[in-house]
């Protein structure tokens, strides 16, 4: 072996610098550096880039090269990280981003509402023409209740307390919304199927209750929570369709990039959707099954909550559009 090893000399001479940079890395990852510290980190990042390039060439596969790779990546990630302030980010989400996303989904929303209306019409027609098929959309218990002249929701509060009812309903609705968005990955078909199925069941149940003169009662039950609940499911459906479209007609260089970009954008819609569904669950658990609440009050709650939803989704609730 030779007496002098230039590679070793360079390695050992640079070692204290790398050790200092490695020691500073955890603090850099946590953020909140002073200006001097940030400048030092930037200098360190640049010197790491030079050293890594040399190490890759001179010492490929060496553990020091691998250590430098890792250190360099952590410096890059820390320095290229976007600034984050939770409060400001949330405000921006609700004031600017959500309204913009909703506006960009207008066409998708229109198609989804049309699909829901058409499938509801189809459901009504199906049960009106073939009443015996109601078993496809309603359980035996529901059918028995209606055939005995009362809705299955009649004694709901005697079966389960409002709090449990609310949690069960809201978790189910949130799951449906999440599924409506995620099923868009099947080129939008999963979402379309889900919305069509929901519309079909809605129409069929109204037709079935209409045959027994209970459609007014069903409307009375759903009017307080139904408008927002259906709107949110349509919104989630529109997001799912947009996700499918990003795969069918990518707007970026690759389908993966287009899908990722779209998922990151429409995924934000799930935040207000989940919040609104919590409200729907509470109304459906406490107001809708309560026979003491008159129709006018239900209508008022439903309308007010719908207006609240519009204000939330348009950003007006958070000052969007104010001078």
């Amino acid at each position: 072996m030779s007496a002098a090893q230039p590679g070793s000399r360079w390695l050992l001479a640079r070692a204290p610098v790398w050790r200092a940079l490695a020691a500073a890395a955890p603090r850099l990852r946590r953020g909140r550096l002073s200006i001097d510290e940030a400048e030092q980190a930037l200098d360190g990042y640049q010197s790491l880039a030079r050293d890594l390039a040399s190490a890759r060439q001179q010492l490929p596969g060496n553990s020091v090269t691998l250590a430098l790779e890792s250190l360099y990546t952590s410096y890059h990630a820390a320095l290229s990280r976007a600034p984050f302030r939770a409060g400001a980010s949330l405000l921006q989400l609700f004031r600017s981003e959500i309204p913009e996303i909703v506006a960009s989904l207008r066409t998708h929303l229109l198609w989804i509402v049309l699909l829901l209306a058409l499938s509801a019409g189809a459901g009504w027609l199906l049960i009106a023409t073939y009443p015996e098929l109601v078993g496809l959309v309603a359980s035996r218990e529901q059918i028995d209740h209606v055939e005995h002249g009362e809705l299955w929701t009649e004694n709901l509060l005697n079966i389960a307390p409002s709090s449990i009812l609310s949690v069960r309903i809201l978790s189910n609705n949130v799951m449906v919304s999440v599924f409506a968005v995620c099923a868009g990955v099947l080129y939008g078909l999963g979402t379309a199927y889900l919305i069509a199925l929901n519309g079909l069941m809605l129409g069929a149940m109204f037709a079935f209750t209409h045959q027994h003169g209970l459609d007014g009662e069903l409307l009375r039950f759903v009017v307080a929570h139904g408008t927002v609940e259906l709107s949110v499911i349509c919104l989630a459906g529109a997001a799912g369709i947009a996700l499918g479209e990003s795969l069918i007609r990518p707007t970026l260089a690759t389908r993966r990039e287009s899908f990722q970009h779209c998922a990151g954008r429409v995924g934000k819609l799930l935040v207000p959707c989940a919040l609104l569904l919590v409200g729907c669950g509470l109304i459906e658990g406490y107001v809708s099954p309560n026979p003491a609440v008159p129709f006018a009050a239900r209508l008022a709650i439903g309308s007010a909550y719908f207006l609240f939803m519009l204000a939330l989704l348009s950003g007006r609730l958070f000052g969007r559009g104010r001078r």
Binding site: M1, S2, A3, A4, Q5, G7, S8, R9, L11, L12, A13, A15, P16, W18, R19, A22, A23, R29, Y45, Q46, A49, R50, L52, A53, Q58, L59, N62, S63, V64, L66, A67, L68, E69, S70, L71, Y72, T73, H76, A77, A78, S80, R81, F84, I159, A160, S163, I164, V178, F179, V181, C182, A183, V185, R256, F259, Q260, A263, G264, G267, L270
Partner: protein, 248 residues
């Protein structure tokens, strides 16, 4: 791009690199996490049911009382379903299973993904777990170049090897004498052997130490290497790293 490596373009012109973890280690981490969350959820459910009901039996044919639903059932379900999301957000892309498997979730710039990205990644488990036993997730992680599941594709995340050694490697290097004149590869091998000394079997580490000393140590042979104890062999390796070499 090398096999199993994700390159990140940087402003310096020198690419950063992440070592992509494959489907095997992904499954390994998931299985560990699945067992932990099932155990936690069941433990909570049983303990809370005992406290609230006084027995493990739940009333049959009657609706469960609110105290049981909110104290036992819902928290157990929350533990099971929110385990990944909460731990990944709190532990910067790592769960106990991932820590044991030596991997972490990374954003495409190499850093910790945002909470939004982690949320999206976990919501897409609905798709990845279809039709059963994570068939979709496993298939996509087998056949995509970056070995990612649908949730990773949506959130822009990667599962990468979490190399915890760099600080220790550089720390060890900095303690060496600047005059040491061994070749970098020799420094690497000796340092690695010393770092793994306690993990290796005594006969194996002694044999490796003798082989290295025979090739690299210029010190005069006073006693045959076979006669030296483990402690002496280790000491000579450490001295070899510290001392400047005699001119050969």
């Amino acid at each position: 791009m090398e096999q199993g490596e994700f390159r990140i373009a940087t402003a310096t012109g020198v690419d950063a690199a992440l070592a992509i973890a494959g489907p095997g280690v992904r499954s390994y981490a998931f299985v560990i996490d699945w067992h932990i969350r099932v155990l936690l959820a069941v433990a909570w459910y049983l303990a809370a049911a005992l406290l609230i009901n006084g027995s493990l039996a739940t009333p049959v044919g009657k609706p469960a009382p609110p105290a049981f639903v909110f104290g036992a059932l819902l928290p157990a379900l929350a533990i099971y379903f929110l385990y990944h999301l909460i731990l990944e957000a709190a532990l910067r892309g790592i769960t106990p299973g991932k820590r044991i498997a030596g991997v972490r979730i990374a954003a495409r710039n190499g850093g910790v993904p945002s909470t939004g990205a982690l949320l999206l990644r976990n919501l897409f488990r609905i798709v990845d777990s279809m039709p059963l036993l994570y068939v979709v997730g496993l298939a996509t992680s087998l056949f995509t170049r970056e070995h990612v599941r649908v949730g990773d594709l949506a959130a822009g995340t990667l599962l990468v090897w979490n190399d915890a050694r760099p600080a220790a490697t550089l720390e060890r290097l900095a303690t060496l004498s600047p005059d040491a004149q061994l070749a970098p590869a020799a420094i690497d091998v000796i340092s690695d052997l010393l770092a793994r000394w306690s993990e290796l079997e005594p006969e194996r580490r002694a044999a490796l130490a003798r082989a290295l000393l025979l090739r690299l140590d210029p010190a005069p042979v006073i006693a045959p290497l076979e006669a030296l104890s483990e402690a002496v062999l280790r000491e000579r390796l450490e001295r070899l790293l510290q001392a400047p070499r005699a001119a050969s």
